[in-house]
Amino acid sequence: MTQMNRLTGGLIDQSKPLNFSFDGTSYKGFAGDTLASALLANGVRLMGRSFKYHRPRGVVTAGSEEPNALVELRSGGRQEPNTRATVAELYDGFEANSQNRWPSLKHDMLAINDRFSNFLTAGFYYKTFMWPKAFWEKIYEPIIRNAAGLGSLTGEGDPDLYDKGFLHCDVLIIGAGPAGLMAALTAGRAGAQVVLADEDFRMGGRLNAETHHLGDMPGAEWAATAVAELASMDNVRLMTRSTVFGAYDHGVYGVLERVADHIATPAAGKPRQILWRVYSKRAILCAGSTERSIAFENNDRPGVMMAGAVRAYANRWAATPDQNIAIFTNNDDGHRTAADLIAKGVNVPAVIDIRPDAPKVVGAELLAGAQVIGSKGRLGLTEVTLRLASGEMRSISCGALAVSGGWNPNVHLTCHQRGRPKWNDALAAFVPGDDLPMGMTVAGAALGDLSTHGALAGGAKAAVAALGDLGMTAGIPILPKADDTPVKLTPFWHVAGKGRAWLDLQNDVTVKDVKLAHQENFVSVEHLKRYTTLGMATDQGKTSNMGALAVMAEMTGKSIPETGTTIFRPPYTPVSMGAMAGRAVGKEFHPTRLTPSHKWAAEQGAEFVEVGNWLRAQWFPRTGEDHWRQSVDREVTQTRNSVGICDVTTLGKIDVQGADAAEFLNKIYANAFAKLPVGKVRYGLMLREDGIAADDGTAARLAEDHFVVTTTTANAVTVYRNMEFARQCLWPDLDVQLISTTEAWAQYAVAGPNARKLLQKVVDAEFDLSNEAFPFMACGEITVCGGTRARLFRISFSGELAYEIAVPTRYGDGLIRALMAAGKEFDVTPYGTEALGVMRIEKGHAAGNELNGTTTALNLGLGRMVSTKKDCIGNVLSKRDGMNTEDALRLVGVRPVDAKDPVPAGSHLMAVTGPVDAGHDQGYVTSAAYSPTLGTAIGLAFVKGGAARMGERLRLANPLEGSEVLVEIVSAHFVDPEGEKLRG
């Protein structure tokens, strides 16, 4: 039996058959089919299970709002849960599986929940599962969690690529139905830059689902002609399979384009989807409308569908859910479905219209004033029960029921900036309010203009107005003659009755649940939603909110608009996380910055470490070293004994020039710079305005009006920003110019007793590096290796005789090779960030772990650096009492009493005896390392009143890892406290 419910015609290509499978069964469909249309054509109505009661469910809509027919597509890392069968385009070899059922869709064990539905009412879980206490996490919750959820992820990485993109346009038109197409034609012909986006793979909207004519053309043909004209315009960009999912501030829209979901896998290097950010000057929302249902007892059976959807399946996809379809409606639009089905040869046993004055029907029996009060059929509808106008009961056998309760304009995007829709009595629906997002207008069914003519006229008018705002002129085009029937509808939301009548099909929220919520005082819409989970399904209430609001209004005796509406938030339809992330995932999560010596270091087999976005060499293992500590200890020892080289390019460098450069530095540094001589470097401490240490570094004076400031690697960006703030906002009349030169220079620290000897071999002979000519804290411009320009700074982080030498970055690789070659005779070693860290701890220099954003100059032992003679950022607030107490934390060294003991950074300090708790906390270890120089672990620590506690013994408490170590408080300057080496 193939395609038993396939009709003739439609916009599918019946000459192109496609093979597909659902739950392992093979079927055939045609090009242009969705999974839903193809399954219906094949006689399959059961497509899913509901969330709570696991009731059998079939497709109800033909669009992205589908709440029932959710399936899993593909497998492995590409397994995609919760895909709406209504929008999943068929391709050859397409595989889908049903979800949220076990062991099979037909026989789902959890359907037992339905038997207990009386207990599982709205919010039942708030009232039970409280005893015994421990059972929640151990028993109740695991059961609930395993029963909940819809589809599943495999946990494997998604192998597909996702792009991002940016578009700029005059007018963004959202939706390519009659309103959108006419708006696009109007704006496009006038020469505006237009983007027309539609979520469907075929533009035309309802025109593709209806049998109306526009002028002398069938609607779908007119749409195709319009699309062809638009495609010929350079200024119009047509985007199919593109959902405008969010309206953000100032005309920015988010658009998801599904580039490759309609094929098995994207081609290599090509994206699956693209997330576009559209910058629009004006936007016209032509998003159409969504049909709503009428609730009645057991209205959730497979086969009960929206009337407009049934019509769309018949007209566009030449598919029908059954050969016998009854209609249940409160409005004239439902009658169209009857007429179209009859025209397609489908039997319509009855049109059940709640209105006693319902219009006549040709080719089917009209039951005016009747209501559907129940249904039968376990896995699919077999029969509906009616109460006739006379009060008589009657049963009708049918495999599908097409229900129409009227149409709701798709106002969602008008509410994304918290605009509220307003009530329209004629439509008994919400239409866009007055508070639209900036630059947005609405046309067509989304505005409540439900006729084709209204849509065409509205689209054209909106485009003319939008262009007018932009100073462009467009003429109203001649509109094709089109249907202009007014809406005729009697509001009707649910059939009274005792049984369960579904409002939210996915989440199993029934009229009874709304009544219970009301009874328990959850009457506000927000409370109702949260208490019953109504509207929280994957359709975000598109198919359910209105019905529930109406029921609540009935309960409270208020009107629907008084009862309220919930807030629509982005996204309009769910957006894959992959697309939101784009290419910034995995290794590309952040850009990677490489140092000038990277290539060379990689050749040496260096281990690299992420430092912010930089990759830095962490250590350089030599043959025979199989533990990192061996390498690091060696690097430290070799440097301290002879000479070592470290790439320090990552430190921020800011060029500061101007007549007032010195005065400016005086303001941003806590210590004084005005009198720093040309050719000298000074250590500087920057405070935040709240008096906390912000960053430290050096400033070198290259000329009277020229400094180069260095920052820590981590703070380079912030320091620059703050300096610009000071320059532009605080002291705008100082003559200062700033620019970053971090990347322009490759800079290496050359440290150790043989540093000068090594450098002398590289620096051109005319430059005198002797201690007299180039003393500690000197700086100057030199040349190296026969004329390459360089800068030399005699500064030291390691505490050794040390220099930092900089060359234009392109020569950085050459320089490290030259330095290493020149250092061979001294057994030079490159050292990485680990050895750098060890040496700075040995020397007691504060770094990021100490400058942690809560420490003051006083805490760091640098209190005297804060000048009292000048204003500077942070000066005044650094004097607050609480930051200057007697027992303020002070930076000290800690050294284990037993040299074999470790010093875990992050340990807290406690008295040698007594309790170990927060009340007795004396401070904490900020940084620690094994010092090969001292042969023991050492640490830097902040200790209360630490400066006066030298020699005292304390305990390092590390209850986290169960260790305690006895330490002695010592000076933070473990090595060469007098600084003789660096001045030598």
Binding site: Y248, E663, E724, F725, Q728, C729, L730, K870
Partner: protein, 103 residues
Amino acid sequence: MIINHPLLGPRDAQEFTYLGDATLINRPYWLSENALRDFHDYLHLRDNPAGEHRELWFHEQGDRSWLVVTRNTVTHKISSVELACDVARANGRSTGREEAQVA
């Protein structure tokens, strides 16, 4: 969000770094009698209006201008954008020289 840069025209707010209330331009005098109170209030206390708010944005991924943006914090509507250095001068900021040294 789009910020209409006075020099560059409309730019995505993503290119900017936000600081806060534009009163941060009005840094107090460090030697005033109530300097501690003045600096405390300057740095910490905010009108935090639900409505028009003058605020500082830095065009970090652009021309490195600090801007004063007047934006409604309820609707996000931006009513004016100025270069912060112009605002600073208009507020009387200059070189700070007159108050830089101990009197």
